[in-house]
Symmetry: C2
Subunit: 352 residues, 2 copies
């Protein structure tokens, strides 16, 4: 499997399957792990980094489900290709922008990956379509158990897993959902809900995780506390808060339909009309329009595009994906023209 | 023929026929005439007004082409119906808002009409689709000649036709074209062109004539001088200045396509997408979107809607037309919903 394979196929976590996939785009589990007797990445020598990379490659060979996984050395990829991996939610902006030996191991379908030499030596990630944090946890935990047998994890019987940043100590687990909340945004209740979520010990982040902006009304909700709880407990708490948010969002949508149905339907149909017809489209605008289309599909206002098509377009219309499909670096306005082409042709195909 | 007939049929001057109909919506000739020995309308008694009405009704019976014309008494129409006549460009806002006996005589097809007891006793109007000022003049002039035999026109051998306002004395003729100039507006050359037009003795007005706004980049160009020229000379001068403006507009469009083709095509396709999909649409927005669609059709960017469909929608989506088709007075937001419905269904029909 190469980067070309990746960029031409749909990541399985975008296929629109799973519970509540009209609202919850994806469920993700991340486990932070480090290797004993090797300094944390920020203090590791290039030799140390190399040892981590080799140890991970070696250990994963033996893991269930990872026999076909490939390891890509981020330091050998172009800037554009690293951005492509960020756009696929496989690596963080921090890993893309980092230095030294580092990389990403990823399975076919991109449901499981390991970032190597990001903030921690290992960042295991399981990501599934829809509302499936429990299943994602099972996937991550399975690999984690296998790796624990092969790799000397930095683990304290008192503190649990040791991590570069104290906020991750203990379970090293971050469970998150990427959830679409246009209703709460439209009725201007999002701030209130965000306060509630924060008070319950959850963080709200943007589309690409920590430090990134919210685009297209997509919010990433994740646990803040990793210490003093069992892993499964964290997952269950995320499930609980997510179900609560889903209820709020559904109520917000009912309120909107009751009080402003023509305006909401208008917003949805216009977005659809622009997606089908625009000749120039920025990423930002695409995300906003696709938010309206996603809402429209979910409410049954428009029959298409469906969740899968919107998810796939969400990734395919990102700048590096567009440039890779064009086979060259493009000016922003050229990308905007190509983005509009891709969206239009995609919707046309799905229509016929 | 009743108001219902009118509102359900397309006025012939909107059928998209005639030269340059991609740019010139319509050509119009107006002749101001008054009756001798009756005070001008503003000073006329109700009895005087009645005499004018009766004289016109009587005289037109004998006119070629007016045997099927009907006379509608504006003072017996509802406010909404008077507005409907304004929207069809048959009466002026001044006649609609006036007082006392007054009205409109109109032929089938609405190519010829006479406003009675507006500023002048008679305002003859001939209006044809596309760039046909000469043909419109022939039509108006033919009826004028017939009427002159039956009615005692207020005419001075020195000054020509006498009119209520000195600016109309002489020929009483206003020749105008309704022309679509989105290219000049987009390249921001309109002001320069307007200055030039004004210097050549022509006035630029809005969609409904004097004192109304320009909407949808539709400008009404007309002569300012009515005295000291032969009627045909005025018509020829309008033809000449219009041909000049058409050249400027075509050059502006070429400049736009050369320098910003993707942005122009984007603007056109988005307008088309919104027209086809919106569920709420104000008159103002419809006029702006239809301007982009008109440009798009004229440039060959979009195959439809054509000139005829856009012209027809331009009238059918006006507030009073919508309310009449709904059979009741509507709130603005209800009208906006109905307007979007009408446009959508219209475009759908034309598509199939």
């Amino acid at each position: 499997m190469t980067l070309d394979d990746l960029s031409e196929h749909l990541a399985r976590w975008l296929d629109g399957s799973g519970e509540e996939s009209g609202l919850v785009v994806s469920s993700r589990i991340r486990l932070a792990r480090n290797l004993r007797q090797i300094p944390f990445t920020s203090r590791a020598s290039e030799e140390d980094r190399g040892r981590v990379v080799e140890a991970v490659k070696e250990a994963t060979h033996a893991c269930r489900g990872l026999s076909e996984a490939v390891f890509m050395e981020a330091d050998k990829l172009s800037e554009m290709d690293r951005q492509l991996l960020v756009e696929r939610h496989l690596i963080s902006p921090a890993l893309a922008g980092g230095e030294g030996r580092r990389g990403i191991l990823v399975n076919r379908g991109e449901t499981f990956s390991i970032m190597v030499n990001e903030e921690d030596h290992l960042r295991l990630q399981a990501i599934l379509s829809g509302f499936q944090p429990r299943q994602a946890y099972a996937l991550a935990s399975g690999v984690d158990g296998d790796l624990a047998k092969a790799l000397p994890y930095a683990y304290s019987s008192r503190w649990g897993h040791l991590t570069a940043c104290p906020t991750n100590v203990g379970t090293g687990l971050r469970a998150s959902v990427l959830i679409h909340l246009p209703g709460l945004v439209l009725i201007q209740d999002m701030e209130k809900v965000l306060r509630g979520i924060t008070q319950m010990g959850f963080a709200v982040r943007g589309f690409y995780g920590e430090g990134t902006d919210v685009v297209g009304n997509l919010f990433q909700i994740s646990n803040q506390i990793t210490l003093g709880k069992r892993e499964m407990q964290i997952v269950e708490e995320l499930e609980k808060v997510t179900r609560q948010i889903i209820t709020y969002e559904q109520n917000a949508r009912q309120t909107l339909l009751k009080e402003a149905r023509p305006q909401i339907e208008d917003k949805i149909w216009r977005a659809y009309g622009i997606l089908e017809n625009a000749r120039v489209l920025t990423t930002q605008e695409f995300m906003n329009l696709s938010s309206a289309a996603r809402l429209g599909h979910s409410l049954g206002v428009i029959p298409r595009p469906g969740v899968r098509a919107l998810n796939e377009l969400m990734v395919r219309t990102q700048p590096s994906h567009i440039q890779r499909s064009a086979g060259k670096v493009l000016e922003p306005v050229e990308r905007d023209v190509l983005r509009a082409d891709i969206v239009r042709k995609w919707l046309e195909e799905k229509r016929n």
